[in-house]
Subunit: 189 residues, 2 copies
DNA sequence: ATCATTTCTTAAACTACATTAAGTTTTTTG
DNA sequence: CAAAAAACTTAATGTAGTTTAAGAAATGAT
């Protein structure tokens, strides 16, 4: 039970078995079918989700009605709409399963409690958010320095397996262009 | 000494005076003139910087030779090239003072030490990185959903004082367009 | 105050990518 | 395994924003 998360946590800190037990009492597992929603626009993002198996995506629908995927989370990554999660206010985003997905969830009412009862986890989450911030800095740099085609080529080189996992239209919006343009890029090869 | 930082930290946690003393022994203050570099491309980002007064920017020079500003930090924000700072490897970025700026610095060799000696600070930095991640999520959403003109109008509405503080060419690149286009937008009004 | 430097503006020509729309292929479901 | 739904492709047309280049205005240094 929850061993995927324990293994991940233990890469950063050492949890005693007492602490593991406390933690276990405050977690929940969920399973989502492909295309199921963890929450929709207007809902409150009730939990911070750790992906055990599968793939989630965070997206919104823009003014023209197009889905814009802004984040993916695969195995061992956390995902949530943080603003909605922290302040428990309605989200502007959807979180959807891009594949059949198993998650471990920390619900909002247990988030502070977990950190109070197991202060060591502050270090774990500090590390997690630090990594997320690092990833953002790199992503923003790519968005600002490369053309659409370069972003695709580069992403494909860095994460070839991942590119196979999700529909192209999700990837296109994540990389900041239209599915039609992605087709065009691919046709060139 | 360092009171700007203590005040900020105390919004998140309570530091004892013992802890403040330990912390003080591991911090350094620096002052930078407008346009001075905290580090340049190829240098290692030696410290994580807390802005006491003034404004810093993180930017890189793209393949066409244009400066792309990817982050600003004003009073009470932290800034660094995290990848370079954490792994102590050469940076792809410049960090430059956009104004005469006073900072408090945590140098890399003291970063882990500070967190070990004052574990409470894990919570502080968890909160800081959590906020930064939240800001990134919002920023990415704006980048993906608004036109250049909307981004400018919106930013101007949210941070009117800040828009006055930095040259337009820095703002233009931060918002993802050229200075010429910004002039065009402004001419419309 | 004056000169040099930096920043901002204007406008014409250009281009990377979006839009629209129709057709094709692949995947899902009963 | 057939029908429906979802995902992908192609191509013509359109446009938001870039590029280039020159001049004007603001700021800084002596």
């Amino acid at each position: 039970m929850y061993s995927a998360l324990y293994n991940h946590i233990n890469k950063f800190i050492d949890l005693s078995s007492d602490e593991q037990e406390i933690l276990a009492s405050l977690l929940k597992s969920f399973s989502f079918k492909k295309k199921a929603y963890l929450h929709e626009v207007g809902d409150i993002c009730r939990a911070n989700y750790f992906v055990v198996k599968g793939c989630l995506r965070l997206y919104f629908v823009d003014i023209k009605g197009a889905e814009q995927t802004t984040q993916f989370a695969i195995e061992n990554w956390w995902i949530s709409d943080l603003t909605s999660f922290i302040f428990q206010k309605p989200s502007d985003f959807y979180i959807q399963a891009a594949e059949q997905t198993e998650v471990i969830a920390i619900e909002h009412r247990h988030y502070d409690e977990i950190l109070e009862k197991i202060p060591k986890l502050e270090k774990y989450f500090r590390s997690i958010y630090q990594k997320l911030h690092q990833a953002s800095q790199i992503r923003i740099k790519y968005l600002y320095s490369q053309t659409a085609e370069e972003r695709y080529t580069n992403f494909n080189k860095l994460f070839p397996e991942f590119v196979q996992r999700v529909p192209q239209y999700m990837l296109a919006s994540y990389l900041g262009f239209t599915p039609e343009f992605l087709s065009k890029i691919r046709a060139k090869r």
